[in-house]
């Protein structure tokens, strides 16, 4: 691949329930490597929250459709297409391009996967055929056309079985049949739904252990296993909704090696270059396992694997795409020679927990099943399973209160049993309560199909909480609590005091947090990833970051409303701080976040954003600046109680309160205000929503359709209003139109989704400008160039994915967004 000069990357589009920041993060990292290798990157995406669109050589904001891709190809004539950074959709688009013949005509290479594999990723049937041919273990599927045959096959397979229609007439008909009595009905129904008058009898894997493997292969065939991750919940609950552990916690070596061999065989067979994420179902009774899915693209698991091991997957994969072999890769001075070839080994445990959207969508179903319900993810790193899990839980900042332990006490026994058997989001606390009420490990394991190991851990958590609670303000118990990862918040709740008091008590007893590095050789080599986690042990590996430095608290797991606009904002801000010569230090616990990319900071703390962590880290780092999200209200209140020698800047990540739509048209006049002068950024207007039948701040156009005199008049009025603001920042002045009258409603900080949108519409780094306002580096007078044509912004919502009937679009329910440049 000597001649690789330009690569077309297909982006992932608006965030949704299936994917978040991890793809933007991967594109960002891959394109940085390409840049170093003098390969030009062309990115096609329409996600206004994408950082990469602004960092690649050619960011093309066009709809993710095959027609736009054809146009882009005709314009840039790329040498290669990379379909592995845009989720499944990118594979579908690549296949359409293949079918159009343009890839062959233009002599474009496919990076990462050959043509045949693109088709297999897109077709479960094709992939299954390949897997069967290579004798990889897959679940048994038999097609029959009558009840008797179905009964014979079901008896052979053993219940439960799944019955499906072949070529269904309407949408999918799929029945889980638990015993013989349910079979006749299911077969009858599915037969009647089948255009072929056939049904499939399929082995159910529900209840088996779900294991996720990340492997890597280079063009010379070298293969490595990067991670093997165990989901606590069995098959039947979507892997993304399960608590997951890296490394696996309960598998025997024999099982691990068999799964590894199969993962290698599949990756070899599909001739994948780069990473492959393969999911398995493991039946521990028979030691048999089954391949569920092979995803040769970046996803939340590759991101989690990379962040939790310290192995730089994106950096390595980028070089593999460019044709390098693993043995040719040099990871730089922080790693040993051939580090890319050393399989990561962990001396810590990472627990990943889902983040839900129920605060914003209280009516969404909480029942867990094969469809994903969580919207984001956070992780905790510790030196024991319990410590990692406690930290991960603490990282969920905005959970509804009924997820807490205390709420479970209110459940009747019947309700509790129902929740054990029909699992709901936040089930960990239900299981703790069940153990509290005396259910045995084997009982619970039988009811939930969760390995007894986890109940043993849960029971230890439970008794630990009890032990701590019954010894208030005792130093040895504080020490014990800290060594198991309990936060000051939790200890304070148990001791009926405040986190600040607990912090003071730690100081009084010189119980200092120490930090360990997330490093992929488990200490064997002198290597540095500059990612750290706290531990209450002997050794401290942290050193103060060279000055000047800025500590930036990330916005944590993806939240409905902001979606990834907050990560976009923080990432762009980090970049600006870096340009200004600051050494960035980031605190975040979202493994998918682009802000954890090594290029953006000198150091990363994988910790929940709690008062204790921030105070500890401030103490170590003594930075010039502390950037902290406004949405961490409790945290900000606590911080005010301390006399901190740091300039604190609030990241404006709170959503304006005017969340609902309006019958009247509204206009937003946008400004950069430096304390003296308000620089106009032009006006947006809300678009009419055909669903909600009103105007929505979640659909915008820029510029607003105002005639010049009106615009001037309102601008003057808005300008004057902004000049009244106390602090410099990005502001928006809202007008509401009634007939010919415009009423100034209020001035508010420009919301982050709109910051991201306007940055792209105006080709202006607004988060960077925000940083400049506070670091006194805004030296040039801002001039906004007129945008040719109209730019639109439309937020997307998770109603369909989360089965919320009649969901009303609102600012606080946004999961992603799309933007488009329209020529007028």
């Amino acid at each position: 691949m000597q001649n690789l000069k330009s690569v077309l990357i297909i982006g992932a589009g608006a965030n949704d329930v299936q994917h978040g920041d991890e793809l933007d993060s991967a594109i960002y990292q891959v394109s940085q490597v390409f840049k170093q290798m003098k390969i030009k990157t062309i990115l096609v995406d329409d996600n206004p929250f994408s950082v990469s669109l602004e960092k690649v050589d050619h960011g093309c904001i066009v709809p993710l459709k095959v027609e736009s891709l054809v146009d882009i190809i005709n314009k840039f004539h790329p040498d290669a297409i990379l379909p592995t950074l845009g989720n499944r959709q990118a594979f579908e688009l690549t296949q359409e391009l293949l079918e159009k013949g343009i890839i062959r005509k233009e002599n474009i290479q496919l990076l990462g996967v050959p043509e045949a594999t693109v088709r297999q990723v897109n077709s479960a049937v094709l992939l299954e055929r390949t897997l069967r041919q290579m004798e990889a273990p897959v679940k048994k599927i038999i097609t029959v056309n009558n009840y008797q045959e179905a009964l014979d096959e079901a008896t052979k397979l053993g219940y439960p079985v799944i019955i499906r229609s072949v070529l269904p007439k309407s949408s999918s008909t799929r029945k889980i049949v638990h015993d013989r009595s349910e079979l006749a009905d299911a077969v009858k129904q599915c037969l009647s739904q089948s255009r072929a008058e056939q049904v499939v009898v399929q082995q159910s894997l529900a209840g088996y252990k779900e294991i996720e493997v990340v492997v890597q292969r280079d063009s010379s065939g070298t293969m490595m296993m990067l991670s093997m991750i165990e989901d606590m919940d069995p098959i039947g609950i979507h892997a993304g909704d399960s608590i997951a552990f890296n490394p696996v916690q309960t598998l025997l070596d024999r099982q691990i090696q068999d799964i590894r061999d199969t993962a290698f065989a599949i990756t070899r067979k599909l001739r994948i270059v780069g990473t492959n994420h393969i999911q398995f179902a493991l039946d521990t009774n028979s030691d048999r396992f089954y391949v569920i899915k092979s995803s040769p693209y970046f996803d939340r698991i590759t991101a989690f694997a990379s962040q939790s091991t310290g192995y730089p997957i994106a950096q390595v994969t980028a070089q593999l795409y460019a044709g390098k072999r693993l043995r040719d890769i040099d990871l730089g001075e922080n790693y040993i020679h051939h580090a890319a070839l050393v399989e990561p080994t962990m001396d810590h445990i990472a627990a990943r927990v889902p983040v839900w959207g129920f605060s914003e969508l209280p009516k969404a179903s909480r029942l867990l099943g094969t469809e994903k319900r969580s919207v984001g993810t956070v992780f905790g790193v510790g030196r024991s399973t319990i410590e990692a899990l406690f930290k991960a839980i603490e990282s969920r900042y905005n959970e509804p209160a009924d997820f807490h332990l205390a709420a479970q006490k209110q459940l009747t026994d019947d309700q509790l049993v129902a929740k054990i058997v029909h699992p709901e989001a936040g089930r960990l606390f239900v299981l703790i309560e069940a153990m509290q009420r005396g259910y045995s490990i084997s009982e619970l394991s039988e009811m939930t199909k969760i390995d007894p190991f986890y109940f043993d851990q849960i029971d230890k958590m439970r008794s630990l909480i009890q032990e701590i609670a019954s010894h208030p303000n005792k130093e040895p118990f504080l020490q014990k609590a800290k060594s198991y990862g309990l936060s000051n918040q939790l200890i304070a709740r148990l001791w009926e005091t405040t986190p600040e008091q607990i912090y003071q008590m730690s100081l009084d007893h010189q119980l200092m947090t120490k930090y360990k590095e997330i490093e992929p050789s488990a200490g064997e080599f002198d290597q540095h990833t500059n990612s750290f986690y706290s531990a209450y042990e002997e050794e401290n590996e942290i050193e103060r970051t060279p000055q000047p430095s800025a500590l930036v608290v990330g916005t944590g797991g993806l939240r409905l409303g902001l979606s990834n606009s907050s990560d976009y904002f923080v990432a762009m801000l980090l970049q600006e701080l870096q340009n200004e010569g600051f050494n960035n230090v980031v605190i975040n616990s979202n493994p998918s976040s682009v802000t954890l990319s090594p290029e953006l900071a000198k150091k990363r703390y994988i910790e929940p954003a709690t008062i204790e962590n921030i105070l500890q880290i401030l103490r170590i780092e003594q930075p010039q600046y502390l950037f902290i999200p406004a949405s961490y209200g409790k945290l900000l209140n606590s911080l005010q109680k301390y006399d901190l020698d740091v300039k604190m800047v609030i990241i404006p990540d709170e959503l304006p309160s005017n969340a609902a739509g309006s019958d009247k048209q509204r206009y937003g006049f946008n400004y950069v205000y430096d304390g003296n002068y308000a620089y106009p950024l032009g006006a947006t207007t809300e678009l009419f929503s055909p669903i909600a039948l009103n105007y929505q701040s979640t659909a915008l156009r820029y510029p607003a359709d105002l005639v010049s005199p009106t615009y001037q008049k309102l601008n003057d009025q808005a300008n004057a209003a902004v000049l009244q603001m106390e602090k410099p920042g990005l502001y928006q002045v809202i007008f509401e139109q009634t007939n010919d009258k415009f009423e100034l409603l209020k001035v508010q900080p420009l919301s982050l989704p709109e910051v991201a949108f306007l940055s792209k519409a105006l080709r202006l780094n607004l988060p960077g400008i925000f940083a400049q306002l506070y670091t006194n580096n805004l030296d040039t007078l801002l001039e906004t160039k007129a945008v040719p044509g109209i730019v639109t912004y439309r937020a997307t919502f998770p109603f369909k994915a989360l089965r919320v009937k009649g969901g009303i679009p609102a600012r606080n329910r946004v999961i992603g967004a799309q933007m488009q440049f329209l020529d007028e």
């Binding site: 490595m224 051939h338 070839l341 445990i349 024991s384 399973t385 007894p452 064997e524 002198d526």
Partner: protein, 360 residues
């Protein structure tokens, strides 16, 4: 759990909690970076005289399984871990790690900052003696300093008497230097009819059994401390029948053919180093547990090829004789625990025997 201390000859003390046997133990402290297979590691005789630090923080989650022992009477001196997770509440489970270690008289210590210990061992650049004790007082240190570990480790772990492991295929003699069951498992899988002999077996005794091939097993310690008659045995046997040597067996095979061994400053125990398979130009992974290595420049190229090299430390990982059907690897192709990628070496050994069989 009772308070216990891990002390080192350099005077350092780590406080932890004891489990397994309460006995005081002494040994060379080495660290193992594998993320899987604690039971196989504990029962591997290669750890005779050694106390093993597990870098994987969570040990014990599935207890002790009846079918994955690598030896029946392990002689490891102790284990050092960050946290033990014995599923103690569950009666259905088999033996817990804690109970097993009690039965086997192996002390364990938990709640240790194992990463700090690894850093210490790495920086020391030489093997450090350590001890797990109830009180870290002067007496404990005096005892530690006074302790002399035997250098006759193979004699301690090798079987005193021959025993068979019958099969229906080729006849293989396995010389036991501290045999790992994985080797027997792989040979059994290939239907071999195995006779295990003590390491003292002479060439004559071996050849009297008319084997199709001979395997030199892995084992503990410094190969230079193994009695010299073993080298003569190898020199004779390799001229007569196919020979496959593993671990300590590989080191002895190298010495028998003129190479020297050298001690590795920081012992290497893990399964994640890339190993270059020279003939195919492939990179493979395998379990490694090594304190000694064949000095690369001492390999007499007129006698031996180098077949495998560790890409991290450039150590010799495999040898092959130029004239005789004899080959060896430093790593463990039988896994247990660890990757299976090199188990084809057993097929190669069987093929070699079969080819010779056909010629007869």
């Amino acid at each position: 759990m009772a308070a216990r201390y891990l002390i080192f000859e350099d005077g350092s003390i780590f406080a932890g909690e004891g489990f397994g046997s309460p006995a005081v133990t002494f040994g060379e402290v080495v660290f193992n970076t594998s993320m899987t297979g604690y039971q196989e590691i504990i029962t591997n005789q290669v750890y005779n005289n050694q106390i093993v630090v597990f870098t994987q923080p969570n040990i014990g989650s599935y207890g002790i399984q009846r079918n994955i022992y690598e030896s029946i009477v392990p002689t490891i001196k102790g284990i050092i871990i960050r946290s033990i997770s014995d599923a103690a509440n569950d009666n259905d489970r088999q033996l817990t790690l804690d109970k097993y270690l009690q039965q086997m008289n192996i002390p364990g210590i938990t709640n240790i900052d194992t990463r700090a210990v690894v850093h210490k061992l790495r920086k020391a650049g030489r093997p450090l003696k350590g001890s797990i004790v109830p009180v870290p007082d002067d007496h404990a240190f005096d005892q530690l300093h006074a302790t002399v570990l035997t250098n006759q480790q193979v004699a301690q772990v090798s079987t005193p008497k021959p025993y068979p492991n019958p099969g229906t295929g080729l006849s293989v003699v396995v010389i036991d230097f501290g045999l790992k069951h994985g080797i027997l498992r792989e040979l059994s899988r290939r239907k071999c009819n195995i006779t295990v002999l003590p390491y003292t077996a002479t060439a004559e005794e071996i050849l009297r059994l008319d084997p199709d091939g001979v395997v030199l097993s892995s084992g503990p310690g410094n190969p230079q401390n193994v009695r010299k008659s073993v080298l003569e045995m190898i020199q004779t046997v390799q001229t007569k029948v196919p020979l496959f040597a593993i671990g300590l067996g590989h080191e002895l095979f190298g010495i028998a053919n003129g190479a020297n061994v050298q001690q590795i400053p920081v012992e290497h125990h893990g399964m994640n180093h890339p190993i270059h398979e020279i003939i195919t130009d492939h990179v493979v992974y395998a379990t490694q547990a090594e304190g000694y290595t064949i000095a690369r420049n001492s390999v007499d190229r007129s006698q031996l090829f180098i077949t495998y090299v560790d890409m991290i430390d450039d150590s010799v990982q495999g040898l092959r004789h130029r004239r005789y059907p004899a080959f060896s690897v430093q790593f463990f192709p039988d896994g247990a625990p660890g990757p299976d990628e090199t188990d084809g070496l057993f097929d190669e050994f069987v093929d070699t025997m079969n080819r010779r069989e056909a010629r007869h």
